[in-house]
């Protein structure tokens, strides 16, 4: 079963040259003519697929369009051309942000974030202990998140996401912080989800991790696909290109 189908996807961004967002300046611009806007093509004709039970890696330099691609697949950004088809419950963690509120306790945050991912109150209650245990944060249930380290936040965000029935998991630079033991544990959890038929799209600058866990890789640069295929081949070319 194909979980993600991306076909000829394009995405443009308009970048305003002048700051022109208050009511008065918008009113003035009606008389002075439209403001000049620069258009950048963030994604150009992107096509790839992810099968059920597959982990696909996305690699590329900063600004190559990896996060934009994830946001387009998650329907956070509107596409300007092409087609995106997803089959199943989609959960995204982009830049470790799942809506955690640092002035609330972990208990409140778990309820809050799980609701955003579509879990009912009953489901949240049933999974609460499992989320806390997986994140290894049992002793901090009633601690406010501003007192958490970035590693603790990462563990919590990942734990919440994997407990919300993902069929498609979009992970953007989730493993750039955190210790090795949790990385291993997370990798095991991903394997478990994939074995059950989920698809994972993993964005990371850690090539070792990508190589170890991804079945195939898509290499992006300036919004275009430079290469896609087996992990080993793409990473080899990517490293050569970086030298």
């Amino acid at each position: 079963m194909k979980r993600i189908i991306v076909n000829n996807l394009s995405k443009k961004f308009k970048i305003g040259i002048r700051a022109n967002r208050n009511a008065l300046s918008r009113f003035i611009s009606i008389f002075s003519g439209r403001e000049t806007k620069k258009e950048i093509l963030a994604l150009k004709n992107i096509s790839f697929e992810a099968e059920s039970g597959e982990v696909v890696g996305l690699i590329g330099k900063n600004g190559s369009g990896k996060s934009t691609l994830l946001r387009a697949i998650a329907r956070i950004y509107d596409k300007d051309g092409g087609e995106i088809i997803t089959n199943g419950n989609l959960i995204s963690i982009i830049n470790l942000n799942i809506g955690l509120r640092e002035r609330l306790t972990m208990r409140d945050n778990v309820s809050f974030c799980c609701s955003i991912f579509g879990l009912s109150v009953k489901q949240i209650r049933e999974r609460f202990n499992s989320i806390v245990e997986f994140a290894e944060l049992k002793d901090f249930v009633d601690t406010k998140l501003y007192q958490f380290s970035s590693g603790m936040l990462q563990r919590l965000a990942f734990s919440i996401a994997v407990h919300c029935n993902p069929d498609i998991l979009l992970l953007d630079e989730v493993f750039e912080v955190g210790d090795e033991s949790f990385k291993k544990k997370s990798a095991e959890k991903i394997k478990e989800l994939v074995a059950k038929g989920a698809s994972v799209l993993l964005v990371s600058h850690e090539l070792d991790m990508i190589k170890r866990h991804c079945n195939k890789i898509v290499w992006l640069d300036k919004g275009r696909i430079i290469m896609k295929g087996k992990s080993k081949d793409v990473i080899e070319k990517y490293i050569q290109d970086q030298l």
Binding site: A23, R26, S92, G99, D108, S111
Partner: protein
């Protein structure tokens, strides 16, 4: 399917409202008192100034004034907060796809909590002034339509605020004009110009109907009820159309 979607929408809105409510009252067990203090101070001040002048010919003026204040408060606070809703939640909007409308509805719910506290003060006033509290029992019915009207207005303001960054400041000024133009601390009987103007003011309908029902224990006039329903529907239609048109660009613009 539709029931499931509605259940998810309300569930999420409730959780968002609960989180925001807790954040607002963080570290303060007396935080809720502030909700009561604000309308009470406003009431005390206006009562001192106007009770012997404009209030003289208005039966049960203390209740008349208090009900006007708390209804307007609910509208003003909620719509004002909605002008920040999308920008305040930019990180979550840029990371997760969830129904954006629930973010706006959660603001209505959040201020509904504090409105309930204010209604409690009204209840105490009713008892002190020996007004039958039967009318107050019908207030939730008016409140449903009022909350829906506010929800429509909030959808409109929250989406426009992404495009007009100073909308909050503009709305503070405009809502002050509405406050002065709405018969909150005065009555508009025999003032035909003000009356005509207020026909275009949705708050006039909600406040007048509430007063008729809660304070004077009377059935509201039918044309007023139609006005209330009409403005509620209009606000929802405009709100959903504008929000629906603009919501797809939120994540790119914030």
């Amino acid at each position: 399917m539709a029931y499931q979607k509605l259940k998810t929408f309300f569930g999420l809105s409730w959780q968002l409202a609960k989180a925001d409510f807790k954040l607002r009252n963080e570290g303060s067990y007396l935080g809720i008192l502030w909700y009561l203090l604000n309308p009470l101070l406003m009431f005390g001040l206006l009562f001192l100034i106007f009770s012997t002048r404009v209030g003289q010919n208005i039966p049960y003026y203390p209740l008349y004034l208090l009900l006007g204040i708390i209804i307007f408060n609910f509208f003003q606070k909620t719509t004002l907060d909605s002008t920040n809703a999308i920008i305040r939640n930019r990180s979550i909007i840029k990371s997760i796809n969830f129904p954006r409308t629930s973010l706006v509805f959660s603001i209505v719910l959040k201020f509904l909590f504090s409105h309930v506290f204010e209604i409690f003060i009204l209840f105490i006033f009713c008892i002190l002034l020996k007004i039958p509290i039967l009318g107050l029992g019908f207030y939730p019915l008016i409140l449903i339509f009022f909350a829906l009207f506010i929800y429509g207005a909030c959808l409109f303001f929250s989406s426009l605020a992404v495009y007009f960054i100073d909308l909050e400041n503009i709305w503070i000024f405009v809502s002050l004009l509405i406050w002065l133009g709405t018969p909150i601390f005065y009555a508009i009987e025999n003032q035909s110009r003000l009356f005509t103007l207020n026909l275009f003011n949705p708050l006039y309908y909600f406040i007048t109907i509430s007063r008729e029902v809660v304070i004077y224990n009377k059935m509201p006039e039918l044309w007023m009820v139609f006005g209330m329903l009409g403005y509620t529907l209009l606000a929802l239609i405009i709100g959903f159309i504008v929000f629906g048109k603009l919501k797809n660009k939120f994540a790119e613009l914030i």
